[in-house]
């Protein structure tokens, strides 16, 4: 099973690089992280040797970049007809879902790791707490994992990549802002407190900020891990249910 997962991951990962699109993607992603850090985040103005202003915008960048990675995962197989081939190979469906997910995660991890110059910069300019920075990268990867799991699930619902992209952005957006004060205030007036708390608890922003703050709380890790697991399980179920519809 593990071997098959890795084979699927390798095939899928390589297919990202079949076109120059992967390089364009990585380039634009790095550009966007740089711009957001220096211009929006006020990296220099803050005068602090940390990467807070860098990680601050990750949820918003991921909101658009990651659905672009995940949209093709299943929609393309379906359009291409290769889903029939993939699902008649003697491979458990869960291995295929995991393999594809790891490929998407690996690709975004690659893009994320290429932001290392900013880490070099901050170490050159000052003496940052590299533990906190590492926690930030970990949190960022877990956040990406959550977005990609949602994207994988949405991609399994359609054969149209554009629809997969748009719907993924919307769903990811809801998960991102569910803890924002604006949303919470909207519900606080009438909804029971338990519901408001649950809603706030599902916010990617809240959990992500907690991790990037340098405090690795098990609850935040468990949140991202279990959310990812739920959406990947949903992906398995949806792919299985939609076998017949091409």
């Amino acid at each position: 099973m593990m071997r098959q997962v890795l084979l699927v991951t390798r095939r899928e990962f390589n297919s990202y690089f079949a076109t120059p699109l992967a390089f364009v993607f990585i380039f634009v992603f790095l550009l966007a992280t740089g711009l957001s850090t220096f211009y929006l985040g006020g990296y220099f103005e803050a005068g602090q040797a940390d990467l807070t202003s860098f990680f601050l915008f990750h949820p918003w960048l991921y909101l658009f970049f990651l659905p672009a990675i995940s949209m093709r995962l299943w929609a393309e197989e379906r359009r291409n007809g290769s889903i029939e081939l993939l699902l008649t190979l003697p491979v458990p469906l869960s291995a295929v879902v995991l393999g594809k997910y790891f490929a998407a995660l690996g690709f975004s991890a690659l893009a994320l790791s290429l932001t290392f110059p900013i880490w070099l910069t901050v170490n050159y300019l000052g003496n940052p707490d590299n533990g906190v920075i590492l926690a930030g990268y970990l949190g960022s990867l877990m956040l990406a994992g959550g977005y990609l799991a949602i994207g994988s699930c949405v991609s399994a619902c359609t054969r149209n990549q554009v629809i997969a992209f748009v719907v993924s952005v919307v769903v990811c957006f809801l998960f991102t802002i569910s803890g924002a004060p604006l949303v919470i205030e909207l519900f606080r007036g009438w909804a029971p407190a338990a519901l408001v708390d649950t809603l706030a608890g599902f916010s990617f922003l809240t959990h992500f900020r907690a991790i990037t703050g340098g405090v690795i709380d098990m609850r935040d890790l468990v949140f991202f891990a279990s959310l990812t697991a739920v959406f990947l399980t949903a992906t398995v179920i949806i792919v299985d249910m939609k076998r017949g519809d091409s």
């Binding site: 071997r3 098959q4 084979l7 699927v8 095939r11 390589n14 297919s15 079949a18 076109t19 291409n80 007809g81 290769s82 029939e84 081939l85 699902l87 008649t88 190979l89 003697p90 491979v91 458990p92 076998r243 017949g244």
Partner: protein, 320 residues
């Protein structure tokens, strides 16, 4: 071997496949015939474990495809309709992927891919991305993928669709060569293909099996089975017609084709005369009166007539 037991598939209210049963032994090639949308592809998708039947099942070497799909699929090769593949891969990478994911080790992968490449003659295009290949090559890549692990069971949905006559011939030769040691199902709407490679044929219409048998037995159901065909130059057609009309207990159909006139002579309805006896009578007449003819033959029956008779007016529904 393949045992299909009461396979049924509903899509909502539409019954795409209705209680289909058959079995294919090792050494047999079963041809699935039927108009578009008759349920050929849907049946194959269920047998290969892609779709789940509404009821019924298929046994692959005795293993139930619905209960243990992975072990049943292990001994099966499948060429889906349209021979899908991943367009960004090269045939070499593609074959490497499907063999390794089936659990073969490095040495086995190498010998298996070499064998499949030889059979499908892919040498020239091994390192070109699949989406740059011609339709014929793409089909052969799909075929190579289906046979690369040397499965006992081979299921192919329209394996020669879109190939030129030479490529069709190659693919058929490859299928015939493999047929000795495998149980094979192919679907097709090319009737000559059934004659060329199938040991048995099955006509499906609106989800039901309408007739099953050897290709020659099916052809014998044709209205023209046993007809004596006399061909003559059109200048001699009139005299030939008057001569033929002197025979007793026959029906004659006349057809003009270019510079030739074709007469089909059939025993009259209710007559118990055998085709060979009729042939002898016609032959004797032609020789006695020394009529100038071009050809004289006994018609074995035509599969396309049978096909049309059995599936007429069935062009409903989309291909599933």
């Amino acid at each position: 071997m393949i045992d299909v037991l009461n396979l049924t598939k509903d899509f909502g209210d539409f019954r795409a496949v209705n209680n289909v049963s058959f079995s294919v032994e090792c050494g047999q090639v079963l041809g699935f015939l039927g108009p578009n949308g008759a349920g050929k592809s849907t049946s194959m998708k269920m047998v290969t474990g892609y779709l789940r039947p509404t009821s019924g099942t298929a046994l692959i070497n005795g293993i139930d495809i619905c209960l243990k799909p992975l072990s049943a699929q292990q001994s099966m090769g499948y060429l889906p309709e349209g021979a899908p593949a991943w367009p960004d891969m090269t045939p070499r990478q593609f074959l490497d992927f499907v063999t390794r994911i089936r659990g073969m080790d490095k040495a086995a992968v190498r010998s298996a891919t070499r064998r499949a490449i030889n059979m499908t003659e892919l040498h020239g295009v091994l390192d070109q991305p699949i989406d740059t290949l011609s339709k014929g090559f793409r089909r052969r890549v799909g075929l190579a993928q289906a046979i690369v692990h040397d499965p006992d069971i081979l299921i192919m949905d329209e394996p020669t669709d879109g190939l030129d006559p030479n490529q069709k011939h190659q693919v058929r030769a490859a299928i015939l060569e493999m047929a000795r040691t495998k149980a094979i199902i192919i679907s097709t709407h090319i009737l000559e293909e059934v004659d060329a490679i199938c040991t048995r044929a099955m006509i499906i219409d609106r989800g039901r099996v309408v007739v099953e048998g050897t290709p020659s037995a099916l052809a014998a159901r044709s209205a023209y089975h046993g007809a004596v065909v006399v061909t003559a130059g059109s200048e001699n057609a009139a005299s030939l017609a008057t001569q033929l009309e002197t025979l007793a207990d026959i029906r004659i159909e006349h057809e003009a084709r270019g510079a030739e006139a074709i007469f089909r002579i059939l025993s009259a309805d209710g007559s118990s005369e055998t085709p060979t006896a009729l042939f002898a009578r016609v032959q004797a007449l032609v020789e006695q009166r020394s009529v100038a003819i071009i050809g004289l033959a006994l018609e074995a029956g035509r599969l396309d007539d049978v096909f049309r008779d059995l599936t007429r007016g069935a062009e409903t529904g989309a291909a599933r």
